[in-house]
């Protein structure tokens, strides 16, 4: 059996924001994302995790390095329409207050995703027809592949039901939904496009604690069920570890530790990961104050790969 091909491969990406002095938000990040897996990208504010999300979608240009989506280089989004080959990467954003257009019914917003999926499917069929003339398999085939699985919802109403809302909600406006419901709708919108990759950029951090785990779990089960790779970005390791297969820990623009979730959680190797884990207060009633990091001096240690 051949080695599985990553859907997204990130190689030595650097991002500088212009300014005086320029801010080095990301300094040399590399990782792969495979089909159907859930990867947690965790770190604290300013570590570059959100910048990474925006680089993967092309919303922010990278200064150096390479990002490939199924063999296609991901370039920064300009004024023009996003290349259809790259629409297989979708994103759910942080702020439930602005992740949906307040002046459009939610059904029509989910429809955007469905339309994109249909367009990608038509493109795929057209390419298949071209194949009859061309004996060599063009790589485009995989990029626009729409995974129209048999049990996928076909209408906004079905998608709403898929994320636990009412079919009749399609006619309502975003303001009549709670934060958690809006994030479900945003997830439905993104997944309706049948992407190969879904990026969640702190999608649960604005929600009440009791709903965070539930929304995160819903996102991961839906993504996995349609074979979509999920990159779940969060500062809250305690929720991410529940859904992620693998963890990437970022600090100061670099990945300082990576590996299977259970190993990173129970056996952290990097000094930063250790202090991050020690600082999480557990709701166990023990009255234990979380530990403060002694110093940041040893955070520059080489990355730990499990």
């Amino acid at each position: 059996m051949t080695e599985p091909m990553p859907v997204i491969s990130v190689r030595d990406v650097h991002v500088d924001y212009p300014g005086h002095p320029p801010v080095h938000a990301v300094r040399g990040v590399s990782f792969d994302l495979f089909e159907g897996e859930v990867v947690g990208l965790v770190g604290e504010s300013g570590c570059g995790k959100s910048t990474m999300a925006r680089v993967l979608t092309g919303l922010v240009p990278r200064t150096e390095g390479e990002v490939e989506f199924l063999g296609e280089s991901v370039e920064a989004l300009g004024i023009g329409r996003r290349p259809v080959e790259l629409t297989g990467i979708q994103m759910v954003f942080q702020d439930p207050g602005s992740s949906l257009n307040p002046r459009r019914r939610v059904g029509s917003q989910i429809m955007d995703g469905l339309k994109l999926a249909a367009y990608r499917e038509r493109r795929r069929l057209a390419e298949l027809e071209d194949l009859l003339d061309d004996p060599d398999l063009p790589p485009l085939l995989t990029r626009t592949a729409s995974r129209s699985l048999p049990d996928q919802p076909k209408t906004p109403a079905e998608w709403l039901e898929r994320v636990g809302l009412d079919a009749a909600d399609a006619n309502r406006y975003p303001r009549s939904f709670s934060g958690g419901q809006r994030q479900r709708i945003a997830t439905a919108r993104a997944l309706a496009a049948q992407p190969q990759v879904l990026i969640g950029d702190e999608p649960i951090s604005a929600l009440d604690a009791s709903t965070q785990a539930r929304v995160a779990y819903l996102m991961s089960t839906l993504a996995v069920s349609q074979g979509t790779a999920l990159l779940f970005i969060s500062h809250d390791l305690s929720v991410v570890r529940l859904i992620a297969d693998r963890l990437l820990v970022m600090w100061s623009g670099r990945i300082v530790e990576s590996g299977p979730t259970e190993e990173v959680w129970s056996n952290p190797g990097h000094p930063y990961t250790k202090s991050l884990l020690a600082a999480i207060p557990a709701p166990d009633g023990a009255g234990r104050l979380p530990a403060m990091p002694e110093s940041q001096a040893d955070f520059d240690a080489p990355p730990v790969i499990h």
């Binding site: 785990a213 859904i243 999480i280 166990d284 104050l289 990091p293």
Partner: protein, 289 residues
């Protein structure tokens, strides 16, 4: 032990076009000297309004009943200058986001001394001495030189420490902390929580600690009150509330949290807790999306 701050049967409604909208319904709480009384709840439960009402910052068009006792005075009966004399001097308040609760155009020194001079009628020099002491107490180094600096020159964690110093500059008996660590990173949060706990233990401060984060609550509170829909559904010692909650709502809240007793520990727990994949909207006890 006597309570420094006693909230008695506090109810609050906001007048709207459709009549009175209830926000708080018979809230009773006591905060003792040297103790952290936690007040936890989800957004919209009324925990923040409770804190604001104590210092007389209730929302506009409010109708309030009940009592808030501090030093034998009912704060709800105070108005104007009598209320001002209590605010800042006898009750300090720390808010969620230090980048907006501190005035960006004033030096740390003037924010630390202005209200001290107003309340305690001390000289400028004495106020500055007190300010340096206050900064020292919260672990912000640099002495008098620090007073001339502006909030933006400090990190988020340091700003919150400065906000705490300002709240404590007049030696109030009570500190109300409304989500004081929510805007901070966990590693920074650990330091601020440790600071608050040590201030309580060393100064005998009484703290009403408001947060949605039960992990934080478990780390710092002595007693924990759980609030929902404007009512306190459970109030007890920390260990009892976290390990043997009496109210079904508390049990369900804890069960939905990673790291709690009986809470979520793995993906398998998630699958057991949400057999439908997380679809169902509301549980019987009203935890909802």
């Amino acid at each position: 032990m006597t309570a420094v701050l006693r909230i008695e049967d506090l109810s609050l409604g906001i007048r709207t076009e459709d009549g009175l909208r209830p926000i708080l319904d018979g809230v009773s709480l006591e905060v003792q000297r040297g103790q952290v009384q936690g007040l936890a709840g989800e957004s919209g439960s009324g925990k923040t309004i409770t804190g604001l009402t104590v210092i007389g910052l209730e929302p506009n068009r409010s109708e309030i009943s009940g009592h808030i006792w501090l030093d034998g005075q009912d704060l709800l009966k105070l108005t104007g200058s009598a209320l001002n004399a209590v605010r800042g001097a006898k009750v300090g308040m720390v808010f969620q986001d230090p980048s907006t609760s501190l005035h960006p155009q004033l030096t740390v020194g003037s924010q630390l001394t202005d209200h001290v001079r107003y309340h305690l009628k001390v000289s400028k020099d004495e106020a500055r001495d007190r300010a340096v002491q206050a900064l020292d107490r919260v672990g912000v180094q640099g002495g008098r030189a620090t007073l001339a600096r502006y909030p933006h020159e400090f990190s988020g964690g340091q700003r919150q420490r400065i906000a705490i110093a300002i709240a404590l500059a007049c030696d109030p008996a009570v500190l109300i902390a409304d989500e004081p660590t929510t805007a901070l990173d966990v590693t920074v949060q650990a330091g601020v929580l440790t600071l608050i706990r040590s201030l309580v233990d060393s100064l005998g401060l009484a703290v009403l600690f408001i947060t949605h984060d039960l992990g934080v609550m478990s780390a710092v509170a002595d007693r924990v009150a759980i609030m929902r829909h404007g009512q306190i559904v459970e109030n007890g010692l920390r260990e009892q509330v976290f390990t043997a909650p009496t109210h079904a709502y508390t049990r369900e809240l804890l069960a939905s949290l990673p790291g709690a007793k009986g809470g979520l520990e793995s993906r398998a727990d998630l699958a057991r807790m949400f057999p439908d994949g997380g679809l169902e909207l509301a549980s019987p006890e009203g935890l909802e999306l």
